[in-house]
Amino acid sequence: MENAKPTLAVFKFASCDGCQLSLLDCEDELLAVAGAVSIDNFLEASRAVGKGPWDLVLVEGSITTPHDAERIHKIRRQAKFLVTIGACATAGGIQALRNFTDVADYAKAVYASPQFLEVLGKSTPIRDHVFVDFELRGCPISKVQLLEVVSAYLAGRKPVTPASSVCLECKRRGTPCVMVASGTPCLGPVTQAGCDALCPSYHRGCFACFGPMESPNTASLAALWGELGVPPPALVRAFRSFNASAEAFRKESELHE
């Protein structure tokens, strides 16, 4: 029965579009997903625009304008189950770097013609504005985890995603620890798993796309980075990237400023 299909909507706030693109990048599964749900609003892919209510809503991007701060409430009212996808939606994203400065500092840089524009001083995650049923981490998210969220929703169960650190994934892959073996600074010990420990397999340290793991010991890691010869400004920059505004990373970065 066509009408019995759950409805899916995708919305975007300040972001690069990469996380919703992950859905279109599920080349092998896309038509199956499109067959299992009724895609009712997904502007990146379709002109068809629905008004809701929707059963499953995926939200990408962070809140950075007064207009968007209102828009997310309207979406929430129409959403039965709201999932945030990606570092922007769950931690404010790379654009949350403005949170560490006065946005007026940015305005001091050269701009073409002075004008007033409605932009908030901070970039905040969706959860700061409305209730979020589930958060999917990553910059970008993992396709596998996205499909897990959609299938779990369809099956009426809780999605299974790890809360452990990237280190466990490294061990599982059999990748030698880049920090122990070659003294490469790595954020893996404090970063949530989900990428399958990608960076160490390319001989580089993790740079924390997935944000802080559950109860990360950032102080211990910062001390170890110090022993490896990483100067404080570089440590601050490391904690301030795609998940700069996630509490654990923000706090640790502020300690070394």
């Binding site: 068809a48 007026a104 073409a112 524009l117 910059c139 397999s201 390319y202 990237s241």
Partner: protein, 430 residues
């Protein structure tokens, strides 16, 4: 006829990022054309200041989820230009391979999934799949082949992790890349089929004469390097971009518009590349283009879908050529020693010329960044296309004209997220 007609599209679909469209017609004359960009700015150029030069490829990738490799390529080339580093021919070949993957993935996404539904009257590729299952599944497989190259070389398809200033963090072994060859051989047939399928569409008339701008290489179809040339005879080094082009802050838009200094509307992207570099395409690709009904020049933006299919085919052949002679660069990168300098570079993103310029300090930190994405360069062309198209098609019914206006914008595959990332703002605070 003195009535006022207004075409409004509150939210453009099947483009990247958020924008709207408004055309006002009064007494049979197009009075106003507005491409409203309300995607919020993300201040990349502001926060790049103070970051280490080596962080540029990971940070600028986040400007765009569809073409992160383009941002990585323009940024590493600019940094290497600043520091006088040359990673050598093997790194160059691997970078071209990676970029080919992105061209395939991005072009197929746009041509088959975002643009084709316009020609066939569907709301999306997913709606189209019921009646055109073969074309849709073939496109998904083809797009996947592009993504597989990006994953094999870069680690993952969106925001690859393997690109670094000076080269790659780790060079994939020949054995790791070998499985791509049979996949691309299959993909080649699919790309030919996709081109043939698209060549059967009906293309509305629209012939434009904006100044076309693209890179031009001494012997290759342009991708990672070359001089910047135009249909008006411009021929400059990439580092001279700012002497010849400027950006204008348009009141209503969160994105800047670029133009030729003292000149008119410019257009970058597939039509510009193809028209200015047809002679750089191998004979087999030229023949495929001509078989699909393209001439050696293409100035009808609706036919950009055909050019994207031709470039997909080219990128597959280029990737195959690189793979068949691939030898891993060893070491996978050269050490880049920071120095106080300015470095600029332009590469060809799928949507067109992407210019980066950085001023860096002796401490290796970025002092100033300037990034001009293709969409910012094409915004005026999009508005001009709309103006011309609506003026010539006023007899069409409202629904049809609205749909075609959206298509006129989608012809350019605008990436609004890219176009808006960098705006410098003045904020009024209490």
């Amino acid at each position: 006829m003195s009535k006022v007609r207004t075409i409004t599209v509150n939210a453009l679909a099947r483009v990247e990022g958020e924008g709207g469209l408004k055309v006002r017609v009064r007494a049979g004359k197009v009075q106003e054309v507005r491409l409203d960009i309300y995607e919020p700015p993300r201040f990349f150029e502001a926060f790049l200041k103070g970051r280490a030069l080596g962080e540029a490829p990971d940070l600028t990738a986040r400007i765009c989820g569809i073409c992160p490799v383009a941002y990585q390529m323009s940024s590493v080339h600019a940094m290497e230009a600043a520091c006088g580093a040359d990673p050598g021919p093997r790194v160059r070949a691997l970078r071209r391979l990676l970029y080919c993957g992105e061209w395939i993935e991005s072009h197929v996404l746009h041509a088959a999934m975002l643009h084709a539904p316009d020609f066939l009257g569907y709301e999306s590729a997913l709606h189209m799949a019921k009646d055109h299952p073969e074309a849709v599944t073939l496109s998904l497989r083809l797009k996947k082949a592009g993504n597989e190259i990006v994953t094999a070389v870069g680690g993952r398809e969106i925001h690859p992790v393997n690109v670094r200033v000076g080269g790659f963090w780790r060079a994939p072994s020949a054995a790791e890349l070998a499985p791509l060859v049979p996949k691309l051989e299959t993909a080649r047939g699919e790309a030919v089929a996709l081109l043939k399928w698209a060549s059967g569409f009906t293309f509305p008339d629209l012939d434009l004469h904006h100044e076309l701008v693209s890179l031009r290489h001494s012997s290759e179809y342009p991708l990672n390097e070359g001089r910047i040339v135009s249909s008006e005879g411009l021929d400059i080094a990439a580092s001279e971009w700012e002497q010849h082009f400027e950006e204008e802050h348009v009141q209503r838009s969160n994105a800047l518009h670029a133009r030729r200094k003292g000149g008119g509307i410019i257009q970058t992207g597939p039509l510009a590349r193809y028209t200015l570099n047809f002679d750089r395409l191998p004979a087999a690709i030229q023949a495929a283009a001509q078989e699909a009904g393209l001439g050696r020049e293409c100035r009808n933006p609706f036919k950009s879908i055909l050019v994207r299919c031709v470039e997909t085919l080219w990128a597959i052949d280029e990737a195959l050529a690189i793979l068949r002679t691939y030898e891993p660069p060893g070491p996978s990168f050269v050490e880049v020693v920071p120095r106080e300098a300015v470095g600029a570079a332009a590469t060809e993103a799928p949507r067109g010329l992407l210019f980066h310029r950085y001023r860096i300090g002796g401490d290796g930190l970025i002092k100033e960044a300037r990034i001009v994405p293709p969409t910012a360069q094409n915004l005026r062309a999009m508005e001009a296309d709309l103006r011309g198209f609506v003026q010539n098609h006023l007899d069409l019914a409202e629904d049809r004209l609205t749909l075609l206006c959206e298509q006129v914008v989608r012809n350019h595959d605008p990436c609004i997220s890219c176009a808006t990332h960098f705006l410098k703002l003045k904020i009024d605070r209490d």
